[in-house]
Assembly symmetry: D2
Homo-oligomer: 357 residues x 4
């Protein structure tokens, strides 16, 4: 077990009215370590009640009553109640500077935006994959003169890829990967895609997404060492990203080239037995199983598997030989939970457990 906070830590959400912001609210409700004390959104909402400025977007839950009555503040450190942790669901266009201002003011910022993901002193973190990258934070604070820090989490399409690849990379080496995604509409936020554009349609384009999958994966599977910084993993990824008319969950097809010949059983064993250190820390949002392999020939499916492990488990299936590379398989992750807000919350839990907060 890692460190457990003696009392609840006050936290705030930036970009609290959007879809990822609302996932944060949902996940922080009744959180055993964190207490949501501040909501920030567009300046024009300053001081109004949350339920006056936001409608609840999730169909299967309600806006928590306590949150409905909370005031909404501008996205400035001095405007919000004092917090130790800030979860950012800000849009990429504005996230960069605002997140920095909070880190400068002493908060640990956990960001979903892409602004700082590829920065040389910012970890792009998945606790089960690269917890050791947290070592860069000391450098980040030192060089930037911050008392707080910024940790980012990956794009929703990159996340399942990295999680499925990590045990294989560790056990067998991983050299090449093709990834084709079938991504849900919620990945575009709210209002996101007009229904007229996507009902009875599949769209083979999501702006910037392929580049993210191809680059973020390498950073996360790579190494960080004092003095050397981040080194990309010696892996080449080629991504095709598509939007399909499903509500939640990104289904992804992969072909991979391993470092040496292994049997399918060895691969499945590597996934099923994967138990990184983060799984031993008692983090509240960690799923029972990080990776779940399904034996049925037609799984994972978007609708059936997206909620595995409360949306925090990545489901795998259909492992078979690839005529071109070593193996083919299919993976599925919940895009607004594991691939967004849930990933950030788990990152924050890891930092608390490690004593960084």
């Amino acid at each position: 077990m890692g460190r457990v906070p003696a009392q609840k830590i006050p936290v705030a959400i930036l970009g609290a009215t959007g879809m990822v912001g609302q996932r944060f609210i949902e996940l922080l409700q009744d959180h055993p370590w964190f207490e949501l004390v501040g909501l920030a959104a567009s300046d024009r909402h300053n001081g109004r009640r949350y339920d006056e400025v936001a409608r609840w977007r999730f169909p299967n839950s309600e806006m928590p009553a306590a949150v409905a009555a909370m005031p909404v503040f501008p996205s400035r450190p001095e405007a919000l109640p004092p917090v130790k942790i800030v979860f950012s669901a800000l849009p990429n266009e504005v996230a960069g500077e605002i997140e920095q201002s909070f880190a400068r003011a002493g908060a640990a910022v956990f960001s979903n935006a892409k602004s700082h993901r590829m920065a040389a002193d910012v970890p792009l973190l998945i606790p089960e994959v690269n917890a050791d990258h947290l070592a860069v934070i000391a450098q980040q604070r030192r060089e930037r003169g911050w008392s707080g820090f910024i940790v980012t989490n990956a794009n929703c399409a990159s996340t399942p890829v990295v999680m499925a690849f990590k045990p294989l990379q560790e056990a067998f080496g991983l050299r090449k990967a093709f990834v084709t995604t079938l991504q849900s509409i919620s990945g575009a936020g709210y209002p996101g895609l007009p229904s007229y554009d996507i009902l009875d349609n599949a769209i083979p384009y999501i702006g910037g997404e392929e580049e993210k999958v191809e680059s973020e994966t390498l950073k996360m599977l790579g190494s960080w060492q004092e003095g050397q910084g981040f080194q990309n993993a010696p892996l080449v990824v080629s991504a095709h990203c598509n939007r399909v008319p499903t509500r939640e969950g990104h289904l992804e097809c992969a072909s991979i080239e391993l470092g040496h010949e292994v049997s399918p059983e060895e691969i499945i064993e590597a996934w099923e037995s994967y138990r990184p250190e983060s799984q031993t820390l008692g983090l509240p949002s960690a799923p029972e199983k990080v990776l779940l392999y399904r034996q049925e020939p037609d799984r994972p499916q978007t609708l059936r598997d997206r909620d595995a492990g409360n949306g925090m488990t990545v489901t795998l299936g259909r492992l078979r030989r690839c005529p071109l590379l070593s193996y083919k398989f299919v993976m599925l992750g919940h895009n607004t939970i594991r691939g967004a807000a849930g990933g950030s919350v788990l990152n924050a839990e890891l930092c608390v457990s490690k004593g960084l907060i």
Copy 2:
């Protein structure tokens, strides 16, 4: 121009009540060369009117009045009116023997079933791709002692692949290909997928489909020579096949390795200028453009591009460098027209034009 029949050629449809059977009916209505005189289906319907045994499945057309009143016959050559051409929409389980009985009885059989696709003396034909494979028919007739013959067309997912690859293979050589499909529900026939299984879902499995894409492509892009038979193209294909909730049209993402370095402009030029001999024959079902490249970054899309060229054109787009192979791109073909009934009708037109019928 090729040969044009002096008078309409009598044709029949096997498996006339299913979804592909009905596409044949639709496409043969008012066909300038063919006259539909016989409909065959399950024995139990023998002698009943077509509209008593079949409901029309297509939402945007009606059962033609003349067809509604036609009697339905058993699937035996002697039971049907005399025809020169038989279009087969039979299910794979029964197609093999029945199609042979018609060929033996003298008919030219154009089949959608997979039964004979990979046979050593049966062409797997796309007029724009491998019209020269028709040479095998002489051998087929000779060795089997048939007066008729069998020509097959490809699986609906293989068809756009082969059509998009052919000009590249010719111009630059083609060595490797990854193909991931997003296939429409109509590809499963009728009743096909229960709505409860596919609404808000994506399913990464279609039984036997990946194997077809990986093998049929090689045969079609390969060669046939007297005495040597079929030689597969020196190409390796890896396929991932998925079902998504769209009505018609298969969207497919490809990464390809070409024989040598070329520019994107050369590839697009190879596609746009592709004009195989079949396009010079005046075949009634041939589209104006075999391949259409769209410049927009988010095309082709299933809904928007499936009806290009009355469903006979394959639409291409998003050509860009691939980090692993030479290029990535997207293609889209109409699965029940180009990828099924329309492909068969075009095959029959080619055989007429070439004097084989």
Copy 3:
């Protein structure tokens, strides 16, 4: 509180492999009063494991491991382990005789089929609406010479109607009602509607459904008295039934004529305060609120409200004046839970609580 069983009561499911059968399995898992000991289905499955003969249809749950290993028996009382309660998800065509054979053999049969719904000695039961109709069971047993009995539950479209109408009928009288339904695909069972028929479509026809809504409602809102039998409620209902592409939940629009002038507040108060005797009995499947009125102008919605009260609550909204009758409003109920298996389980709980089992 009513009677609580001293030990778990053994129960069986007829028609255990279909969609409603699987809802029974789901709802009986970990049930505090009932223990599932027998599964029956088509004779041809006799003796095989449940997971060999059935695939699990619900996307958000798994086949319970204990059930997967259970053998499947023929639908005959002597073939099954001894049970006191039988839940029937049999299709209408066969339900009649089989259900009778179990009642004759001593079981309390809770049926979803329409076979006995309108019989003069069979209750059509919703615990919150017409628990007093259970009095007919004494007559049923006496006249039929059965040691067991049959209780039916209403059609999935009738159920929310009756539940919404009951408090209004009691408080104000109810004379006329228009009901137009927007019903989900799961209402047609599995495989139900082919996806090709319903994707991007609305179908204004469900065989026999309108007649059920128009007649079942009157029986359930009517009375039963010894010697006089069932008297229909003095109400006329006109129903329009439609299928729309939603997964679960039936949305229904109603216009009603009340017995006298009342204010909207009085109606909402009648719904919100409705607490029938069954709510005082501690029935395990009873929802906290039988009826829930939403104040938002655009609620209830199929996706957002179907799971209210674990699918056992009927959600109401949009109460407003009707230019023709007294009021208009909207209601929503979960069709495979409250409108099918969940309704039957609640009926069984009521019978146990009342000492009938």
Copy 4:
């Protein structure tokens, strides 16, 4: 036959970039009487090419090349090329004043907005229903001092109602009607409903829609007489409006009370034989059949019947007795063609034919 213009009449479109604006473009392409010479939209687009400021929204057509190159003007009469006819697809918020400025400047304005629909001197016109209401235009011009005039067309949900009711009103009298709609997403324009709100959902609320159906119907089915103005039809309508996940087409269920007892055959005959004067004028956009009755028990369906008569025919079906009023039936109309742009174009054709332009 009515008057046919000697040469093409120059026309313009206001609100040319939205969904209804694009339907106008589509319908005016190759129109035999009208020539599109002006496109107006938001001031900020002034002078830019249409294809620079608008993306084409319809999946089954392309932006006409000639239109793509046209400049976009501000919505002021003096800014546009001189035109005799203006088609307005302006949003309700701005339509009122802008449309008036064009009528004042001499144009015949055909509007889809609700701004002037209920005005005492503006016809709410469907050529097949109330062509005689055009008589009010003389008054409108006189009192307002305009050389042009404004004609409006009905809300997309009201249109099929009025067209189905008119022959019944004429033949039998019509007193009461319940109408429940299942409306497509395109009725909300573009971007309209976010896909996250409507996929797997039905929403029982469309702001202001029920009021429109209840009031517009009465005006259109009512009379206009010099000196007396508009008199509403002696009819009461109660409407329930719902949004469902279909792309195009509004399905509507009605129960109606006729003036006296008639047989179903008489009603169907009244629909099928309905041939108003407008059908004798040779209007280019008039469908062959105004009303089409389908005998199948499950028609009309949204997907199957929306394109009847190129989207200008209203399809009827399922006529049956109503337990409360005289009859129930189902109707379907294409919302963006007959219920919007197509209706306006037909109105303009009528005015030309009648010599008003």
